[in-house]
């Protein structure tokens, strides 16, 4: 808390340096002294690996053959941007991001509304809704994998029953691109919708109840109240929720890794980077891919914050 408020306090006087009183100066110095060590540690553990990854991305470097390390400058990047595998992974990543975030937003909002309105078992309800989010992603990925597999799964049997036998009970969900991607996305949505709804619930709680009541008195329908009063008033919360989830979804790894390992063209950018770095120990190529992934995530954050005017600090107050 104290670190979050310190910069906010010093922000106002910094606009006009001449007006900075001695006390404010002293407070600012104290602020730096208090937050400085943490800041240095943060730079050391984030900036250093990023810089090292950028440096390594200019080399052809296999961990098992360090003597053959060779400076190729942008060679790795040119391979990445001319390889269809990269574009396939990019398309998959974008598809997963767009679909899961959109579905999660709608579902998450519905659940948030429910949690907001329901009074009686409020705490129990919130706990239940949060259960999927508290499960480790790898575990939930295995659960979904086993339920959809032809040998251990029950989903095919259920579908077969409710369609009166029309559904092939031996349907191989992971045998081709579309069904495999669907399972990956369903699992992702199931897992992270609670997170979305929690952020949206915080937004809902911020809305002044009087405004909604006024609209009600004026005769506004539910949908009119939703689109004219509720949504515009929680725009900041929605944008923050969408930003966080977009950044998360763009880096999807666990579900793909557990379910398909990238087979049947289901590779995503993270699994592709993992494959080069960890499987193939091609540190150079893996670093180049990681840098590309980093730049894309950075661009998404920038677009949201600058383009849509998402005020991260404001919504936290």
């Amino acid at each position: 808390m104290s670190t979050a408020t310190a910069p906010a306090e010093t922000k106002t006087p910094s606009k006009d340096k001449a007006l900075l009183s001695n006390r404010a100066k002293a407070e600012r110095r104290l602020g730096w002294k208090l937050a400085g060590p943490a800041f240095i540690v943060m730079v050391a553990v984030t900036a250093w690996p990023i810089l090292q990854a950028i440096w390594l991305s200019f080399f052809r470097y296999r961990l098992t053959d360090p003597d053959a390390r060779e400076f190729v400058f942008l060679g790795n990047y040119s391979v990445i941007f001319t390889d269809p595998v990269f574009y396939q992974a990019l398309r998959n990543t974008l598809l997963i991001t767009v679909v899961t975030v959109a579905v999660e937003l709608v579902l998450g909002f519905a659940i948030a509304m429910l949690m907001h309105r329901v009074v009686l078992p409020r705490r129990t309800l919130r706990t239940i809704v949060l259960i999927p989010y508290s499960i480790i992603t790898v575990v939930s990925a295995f659960a979904w994998l086993y339920s959809f597999r032809t040998d251990t799964g029950y989903v095919n049997h259920w579908l077969n029953t409710i369609t009166f036998g029309a559904w092939d009970s031996a349907f191989d969900w992971f045998g081709s691109w579309a069904p495999a991607m669907s399972v990956i996305m369903v699992s992702e949505i199931w897992k992270t919708t609670p997170f979305m709804s929690l952020l949206l619930l915080a937004g809902l709680a911020q809305i002044d109840g009087a405004m909604e009541e006024a609209a009600k008195v004026d005769g506004a329908t539910f949908w009119q109240r939703l689109f004219k009063v509720i949504l515009p008033n929680m725009k900041a919360a929605i944008m923050v929720a969408v930003l966080f989830r977009t950044l998360d979804a763009f880096r999807i790894f666990d579900n793909v890794f557990i379910m398909t390992r990238g087979a049947n063209d289901t590779e995503t950018l993270s699994t592709l980077a993992y494959k080069q770095t960890i499987d193939r120990v091609e540190i150079g190529m893996g670093s180049a891919l990681s840098v590309v992934l980093f730049l894309m995530v950075f661009a998404i954050a920038l677009i949201f914050i600058k383009g849509f005017n998402v005020d991260l600090a404001g919504s936290r107050k």
């Binding site: 961990l63 098992t64 053959d65 191989d172 087979a263 499987d279």
Partner: protein, 435 residues
């Protein structure tokens, strides 16, 4: 102040590490060296009386009479994860890796990277005597023995006697070809359990098919990248691709052939309604009763199927060799321990305890083995002719590239797939493509 703080925290971490190492060293007797053996999971787990590697470790520690003690560390389940963990430790120069249970395809990569301590000249004979041919070949790199053959594995053809009889297949009389198998399975409406998921097991199958047609994935095993010559784009490659495609087209590979691994294939064979044939490692023999299979008396076994009428079958080779870490502080003791681990007595114990076949031919004559494994002679014959996977330090890339191009099996085109996979391998090795 900053640097002082950093220095002091570094010092703290260092002293904590030294303290831990010091305490650990004190825990064993003072003049006995502690060797750490990284083992792949087997039926014995980490139980010192479980009949697995943990028991061998305990017995060898006792037999050493205080010269060394072996402590085991469990590696992950899958072979690729085992490779990853060992590789990362060794790349970091970890002196705590004394002994490791290595899957044969990764031996060249480790040897070429200098991660294996050289085998003492005077021990080579002891490490190769009485061993089946394929186990010795798989433990070598660049003409030298670099690891110690421990146990040796090979795939057999498992079948329902009733199905084979109904289809008119004589599996006890001689070799059967894949074509005959597919026809028989198709006519009897049963399945052939194969491994065609995009994983290492698929390369095992493809390698066996190509070798069975007299071909080789890698024509000249050796260290240099520029010398690599691939034999995929050949008649043998095309024949192998045609077989994979025919299994997929006839739909005898089961409903989830494109994602089937050893377990899925085993489950397929255990389903009494559709079970017909299965190619798998001998561990399945112990799995049948454990999984409650009711038709065990109807299960037969034979040599791995041949690719065509002309050539002999080339069964896949698997197993484990013992490697000694290059950064170990006691390589001599580690090799002594490896000799103990791979002794006749311990290979017998291991085969009986876990069902994993020995690399020593004489073990197969032991009464216990003959009693417990009625197919022991077929396993030994299969091991004598088994063909290891391509030996190259780039094996990982080569295998992954093959799996990618040959997946899914129903998309394999005999005229294009082998050539395309060869092209991708070369592009990847030259750093011109992603994998």
């Amino acid at each position: 102040m900053k640097s002082h703080r950093r220095r002091s925290s570094v010092a703290m971490v260092l002293s904590a590490v030294t303290l831990t190492v010091g305490l650990a060293a004190c825990s064993s007797t003072e003049d006995s060296a502690r060797l750490t053996w990284y083992i792949n999971p087997d039926g014995g787990g980490s139980n010192p009386e479980g009949g697995g590697q943990a028991q061998i470790a305990a017995q060898c520690t006792e037999a050493a009479g205080g010269a060394y003690s072996i402590e085991i560390q469990l590696l992950p389940n899958s072979a690729s994860d085992q490779r990853q963990q060992l590789l990362r430790r060794l790349a970091g120069g970890d002196s705590g890796v004394d002994l490791m249970s290595l899957d044969p395809p990764f031996i060249p990569e480790f040897a070429q990277a200098g991660y294996l301590a050289p085998v003492p000249e005077d021990m080579v004979e002891a490490f190769t005597e009485d061993r089946v041919e394929s186990a010795v070949t798989a433990s070598e790199w660049d003409g030298k023995l670099v690891t110690v053959p421990f146990w040796a594995n090979t795939q057999l053809l498992w079948y329902r006697k009733s199905v084979a009889e109904a289809a008119g297949l004589d599996l006890e009389g001689g070799n059967v070809t894949w074509e005959q198998l597919v026809e028989a399975a198709d006519s009897q409406d049963v399945t052939i359990g194969v491994q065609a998921n995009r994983y290492e097991g698929y390369t095992v199958w493809i390698n066996a098919l190509i070798a069975g047609a007299g071909g080789e994935i890698l024509v000249n095993p050796g260290p240099a990248l520029e010398d690599i010559e691939l034999g995929l784009d050949s008649d043998a490659g095309r024949e192998a691709a045609a077989i994979v495609r025919s299994v997929a087209d006839a739909r005898v590979g089961g409903p989830s052939m494109s994602t089937s691994d050893e377990t899925v294939a085993l489950n397929l064979f255990q389903d009494p309604d559709t079970s017909g044939f299965l190619v798998n490692w001998p561990y399945v023999w112990a799995a049948f009763p454990a999984n409650g299979v009711e038709f065990i008396d109807d299960i037969g076994w034979a040599m791995y199927p041949a690719t065509n009428d002309e050539g002999d079958p080339a069964p896949p080779y698997g197993g484990i060799s013992i490697g000694v870490g290059a950064f170990s502080e006691h390589p001599d003791l580690a090799y002594e321990a490896a000799e103990c681990i791979t002794s006749h007595e311990h290979q017998l114990l291991y085969m009986v305890g876990t069902g994993n076949p020995a690399s020593r031919a004489s073990v197969f004559d032991e009464a216990e083995v003959v009693e417990q494994f009625p197919m022991a002679d077929v396993i030994r014959d299969s091991l004598e002719v088994a063909v290891p996977r391509p030996q190259t330090q780039y094996y990982g890339d080569l295998s992954t590239a093959i799996q990618r191009v040959w997946s899914p099996p129903n998309g394999v085109d005999p005229d294009a797939t082998p050539a395309r996979s060869a092209e991708l391998i070369m592009d990847v090795l030259r750093g011109e493509a992603l994998l």
